[in-house]
Amino acid sequence: MNQIKRIGSIIVALFMILGAGLMAYETDFGYRFILLMIGLSLEIAGVRELIYYFFMARHMVGGNMMLIKGVIMLDFGALTISLTDVPSGYVILYLLGIHVFSGIVEILRAFEAKRYGGNWKLKFFHGMLNMAIVILCVIFFNRPEIAVYVYASGLVYSAILRVITAFRRTAVVSIQ
């Protein structure tokens, strides 16, 4: 990673933390913000897919699928953004699904890593954390602000990882 990418990564991380703070402070705004983010991320994914098609996948055997995928994603993104009144339960269900899945996968991988004698504690901790979030979401199913807090803490966590990555030494030493 070169210096510009490192600095860029840190700036993005700072914005993520700022955004998370704002959402947690103003939960009503935060809730609408999550919906907007889901729609926007679909739109961005669609655009990225189209760029990927025009710059790379069009040279690939069977690459036309990427063009179709990009267009469909753009459509779904536009549809999501246009939905203004989604019951909070759906957003919580969405978060619940993500965390149940990643929690189970992380715990299973932790057991597998332990079997091979590798590092497993951090993975196990991640898995348990995900499951704790799931329990939290179930208990407070009727409170939309919980979804906002969960989403905001996820953002902070990703931001911290970005900062750590930006400071990692990555160069391989070459001896002439």
């Binding site: 004698g117 990555t170 160069a171 391989v172 030493v173 070459s174 002439q176």
Partner: protein, 390 residues
């Protein structure tokens, strides 16, 4: 390639090249270890993790696919299993990012193979074994790249195996399944491959994952459409390629032993092995999941000695219980230095070709370590070697 070639066939090549039974065993152990020296293995040894020469399935599933994670993956797989053929290859009307991936496609007889063999000359036997693994894999893994890339490594349903039946060659379409737990059915033509993941950098698109383990079988002869090939078919003949790999190993090993002054690409020790050519060809063409027993038998007929099976724990105690300043003198210590050297050399070459996929390589200028801390070990080892030669 698998254990049959990397361990037993490498033993045979080393013995034919003039190494003793004991030396051949050390060489083939190093060659096979490349497929097992993962970060998990190094963690058990408390050794530098940057010396990893492979990744376990479990490690790959956990690997982060951010820039740094992808660079780590590319360093491992491009340095040890998919040595790039031409880092400056040209292809018209392609974007820069496409070409970065395209230039990592593996192939035999490259400049990097030569560099790898030259690096192993005057190096200890574990390093020689490591170089033989890299060389042999350039034949088995040609046309695939050691970096996750859909546009390069993907394959589709157009994948046909050529099968010899009653003296005639017939073709059948290969059936790929996604059950890693079920063994390949080499007689019915059913093989396990990775799931189709329509994401450019998905880990499933690393190397020959999309063609499963099939390219690693010495008997395999097939035609398919590589994703990068502009809809032109490639015919891959493994028995012939593996024979070249064997002959090139003998040639390279003779150079490393000092019997030749120069290692040239495109040269294979065919004449000197002609008396065993039929036996070797028979082993290579035999349809079986692994040819361990056949190669073992052949090795025994060469040296008259029993070839012990590969046991990963063989040198672990020696390394773990060695004093800190003596670890580099153990078998695994020498292997680790060799792995760091190879990774450093290949990463440096990729970086200097202005390809960012393997990450940044910094020249050591003797004024302290700027890069990954693990490489301090490599610097001290190289300084020690210089000191000894002075």
């Amino acid at each position: 390639m698998q254990e049959d070639f990397h361990y037993y066939a490498t033993y045979c090549a080393a013995f034919i090249a003039g190494y003793s039974h004991e030396e051949s065993l050390q060489i083939c152990y190093g060659a096979q270890l490349v497929d097992l020296c993962s970060k998990t293995f190094l963690t058990k040894l408390k050794a530098p993790l940057s010396a990893a020469t492979t990744q376990l399935q479990l490690e790959m599933m956990d690997a982060r696919l951010d820039v740094v994670g992808l660079q780590d993956i590319t360093r491992i797989w491009a340095s040890f299993h998919f040595l790039p053929y031409d880092l400056y290859a040209k292809k018209p009307k392609r974007s820069k990012s496409y070409m970065h991936r395209y230039r990592l496609i593996c192939g035999p007889d490259s400049e990097l193979v030569k560099e790898t063999v030259v690096l192993a000359k005057s190096a200890p036997l574990p390093a020689v074994g490591l170089a033989m693994h890299v060389l042999a894999d350039t034949w088995a893994h040609r046309y695939f790249a050691g970096t996750p890339s859909l546009v390069i490594n993907n394959t589709n349903y157009h994948f046909y195996e050529m099968v010899e039946k009653d003296g005639e060659t017939t073709e059948r379409q290969i059936r790929f399944t996604h059950k890693p737990s079920s063994p390949d059915d080499v007689f019915e033509g059913v093989y396990t491959n990775t799931l189709y993941q329509p994401k450019e950098r998905a880990i499933m698109n690393l190397g020959h994952g999309r063609a499963g383990h099939f390219p690693d079988y010495s008997f395999a002869r097939y035609r398919y459409l590589p994703a990068w090939g502009d809809y032109e078919e490639i015919i891959k003949d493994n028995p012939s390629d593996y024979m070249n790999a064997f002959c090139q190993m003998v040639y390279a090993l003779k150079y490393i032993r000092g019997e030749r002054d120069e290692f040239e690409t495109g040269h294979y020790e065919k004449e000197n092995i002609s008396r065993w050519a039929e036996t070797i060809d028979e082993i290579l063409r035999k349809r079986q999941l692994n040819a361990n027993d056949d190669w073992k038998e052949f090795g025994k007929s060469l040296s008259g000695q029993e070839i012990e099976d590969f046991v990963i724990e063989k040198y672990m105690d020696e390394y773990i219980h060695a004093e800190k300043d003596q670890k580099d003198d153990t078998y695994l210590g020498k292997f680790i230095i060799a792995a760091l050297k190879q990774k450093s050399m290949v990463t440096g070459k990729i970086y200097r070709s202005k390809n960012p996929l393997a990450g940044i390589s910094v020249n050591y200028n003797g004024k302290g370590i700027k890069g990954i801390r693990d490489y301090a070990k490599l610097i001290s080892a190289v300084q020690g070697e210089k000191h000894e030669s002075d």
